[in-house]
C-alpha cells in the first residue's frame, strides 16, 4: 500500500481521538509508518459484529421476560460473553452454567452463587434477579 492510499475513513476510533499506525511505502518505495483514522471495511465488519451481539441481547431479553431463560443469559450477552467465558469467570463447568439458565434452577440458586454472577457482571444481586433493574 502506498502512503497516499492509507485510508482515512470515519470510524469509532475518531470520536475518542485515537489513530492507528499503518505501514506503507513512500514515493521512493521505502517503508514508513503513517497514522490512519480507520478503514470502512473494518468498520463495517465491527458494526456487523456489534449488531449480531445486540440481536443476541434482545433475543435473550425477550426470553427472560417470557420465562424461558434466567437473567444470567441476558447479562452474559450484555457482557459479550459466551458460556465458556462466563463459566471460567464464575469457576463452574459449562454444563453447570447452562443449568443456571433454567428459570427453575435459577430461582433455587444460593445467595453465594448469585453473588458470584452479580460480581462478574458488576451489578447487585437485586439487579441480577430482575433485568429491568439492570443496565
Amino acid at each position: 500500500m502506498k502512503k497516499k492510499d492509507v485510508p482515512q475513513d470515519e470510524s469509532g476510533l475518531e470520536k475518542d481521538n485515537i489513530k492507528e499506525i499503518c505501514y506503507a511505502v513512500d514515493e521512493k518505495g521505502d517503508y514508513t509508518t503513517i497514522k490512519s483514522t480507520g478503514w470502512d471495511p473494518k468498520t463495517i465488519a465491527l458494526d456487523n459484529a456489534l449488531q449480531e451481539i445486540n440481536e443476541r441481547i434482545n433475543d435473550a431479553k425477550a426470553r427472560v421476560l417470557n420465562g424461558e431463560t434466567s437473567p444470567i443469559e441476558y447479562y452474559m450477552e450484555c457482557h459479550k460473553m459466551d458460556i465458556g467465558i462466563l463459566a471460567s469467570y464464575v469457576g463452574k463447568f459449562q454444563w453447570q452454567v447452562k443449568r443456571h439458565f433454567k428459570v427453575k434452577t435459577f430461582n433455587k440458586l444460593s445467595h453465594k452463587m448469585l453473588e458470584k454472577y452479580a460480581n462478574v457482571f458488576d451489578i447487585s444481586v437485586e439487579q441480577l434477579k430482575n433485568i429491568n433493574n439492570g443496565n
Binding site: 469509532g12 499506525i21 505501514y23 471495511p41 467465558i85
Partner: protein, 331 residues
C-alpha cells in the same frame, strides 16, 4: 514513581512491547524486525476454537511466541512470571517498578477502560508496558495507543486476571540479560526460514494450505449455514484479518517492511524485490476484505459473490506459495 520510558506507537501490541522494551534497554530494534525475527506471520484455521460464535482464524503465531523466538534468536534472556494470586502479581510488579524496571504484561482487552467501548471484546492476548505508578494509578504504555495512559490498581488487576481462552494469569515479562551485540544477521535468517516452513507446511489448516481450505469453506457457507451465519462468519474473517491484532493485510505490510530492512542489513537485493512482492500481496488481502465487507453489508448471500471472494483467496494462496518458495531460496 515513574521510569524514564519512551512510548512509541506501533501497529501491533506484542511487537510493540518488545520493540519498546528493547529500545528502553539501548537496542534500536524496529517493530518489523521484532515481527520478522520472531516469525510472527502465520495463517491458521482453528475449527475447534470459536471466537464470538464464529470459527477462529489467526494470521499470527500464538501469543508470546514472537517475544520468545525473538529473544532466543538475538541472544537475550527474558524473565516470565505467572501468578495464581493477584496480590503476589501486584507485589512483583511494584517491586520491578521500584527497581526502575518497566515490564511487559499480557492482559485481557474487555476491561481496558481507555479503549473505545465497541473495541472491547473478550480477547486475552493483548500486551502493554507498565512504566510507573502514581498514587493509585499505574502508568501504561499501550503500544497501539498514540499516547501513554493509566489504569487504576483495580482496573489493572481485572485485565491481568481476565478469564477465558489465553487467560493471562497475571503474566509479566521483561528482558534480564543482553549480549554486547545482538546477533541480528543470523536471527533474521532463522526467522525467515521458520516463517517459510510454517507457511508452506503440509498441514491442511496451516499456511497457504489453510488459506485454500478457508476458500473452500466460504464457497459452502451460504448453502450449508444460511445467509445470516455465512455473513457472520465472513465478517469475522475480515475482523480477525484487519482488526483483532492487525491481521492479514496489515501483517503483510509489516513483513514487507521487515524484508526491506533485512535486505540492507544482509546486503541481499533479492529481499528488496521480495519486499515489493509482499506489499502487492498485502494489497490483495485488502481487496479481499473490501469485497467481503460488501457482501455482509448488503446482508445478502448470493452464491456468486461468495464464490468471487473465495477465488480471491485462492489467488492469494497461489501467490503466497510462490512467494515463500522464492524467499526460502533467497536466504
Amino acid at each position: 514513581m515513574e521510569i524514564n520510558f519512551t512510548h512509541h506507537q506501533t501497529a501491533h501490541c506484542e511487537n510493540g512491547v518488545v520493540s519498546n522494551l528493547m529500545k528502553h534497554n539501548g537496542f534500536d530494534v524496529s517493530e518489523p524486525m521484532v515481527f520478522g525475527i520472531g516469525s510472527g506471520l502465520l495463517f491458521c484455521y482453528i475449527p475447534f476454537l470459536k471466537v464470538n460464535h464464529a470459527p477462529a482464524i489467526t494470521y499470527r503465531v500464538m501469543p508470546g511466541q514472537i517475544f520468545k523466538r525473538f529473544a532466543k534468536r538475538v541472544g537475550i534472556k527474558i524473565k516470565k512470571e505467572k501468578f495464581k494470586n493477584p496480590q503476589n502479581a501486584k507485589a512483583r510488579l511494584d517491586e520491578n517498578l521500584e527497581k526502575d524496571n518497566p515490564v511487559g504484561l499480557q492482559v485481557g482487552v474487555y476491561n481496558l477502560t481507555y479503549f473505545p467501548d465497541e473495541y472491547r471484546f473478550h480477547f486475552n492476548a493483548h500486551n502493554l508496558v507498565v512504566y510507573g505508578k502514581q498514587n493509585d494509578d499505574y502508568l501504561i504504555s499501550d503500544p497501539v495507543m498514540e499516547t501513554v495512559t493509566t489504569l487504576t490498581t483495580k482496573e489493572l488487576e481485572k485485565v491481568r486476571f481476565a478469564k477465558g481462552a489465553f487467560a493471562p494469569k497475571g503474566h509479566m515479562y521483561y528482558p534480564i540479560d543482553f549480549p554486547k551485540k545482538l546477533d541480528i544477521e543470523s536471527a533474521i535468517i532463522k526467522g525467515i526460514k521458520n516463517t517459510c516452513r510454517d507457511m508452506l507446511a503440509p498441514v491442511p489448516i496451516v499456511g497457504v494450505k489453510g488459506i485454500r481450505h478457508i476458500a473452500k469453506l466460504i464457497r459452502k457457507w451460504p448453502k450449508k449455514k444460511g445467509v445470516k451465519v455465512a455473513n457472520h462468519y465472513l465478517g469475522q474473517i475480515v475482523r480477525m484479518q484487519e482488526e483483532i491484532g492487525t491481521g492479514g493485510g496489515g501483517f503483510r505490510y509489516i513483513y514487507a517492511a521487515f524484508l526491506q530492512e533485512s535486505s540492507k542489513i544482509l546486503d541481499n537485493s533479492a529481499l528488496e524485490e521480495l519486499s515489493k512482492e509482499m506489499t502487492e500481496i498485502g494489497d490483495l488481502w485488502r481487496d479481499f476484505a473490501l469485497e467481503a465487507s460488501r457482501i455482509y453489508k448488503n446482508r445478502s448471500a448470493k452464491t456468486d459473490a461468495y464464490n468471487k471472494v473465495a477465488t480471491q483467496l485462492e489467488i492469494i494462496a497461489d501467490k503466497e506459495e510462490l512467494f515463500f518458495k522464492k524467499l526460502k531460496k533467497a536466504i
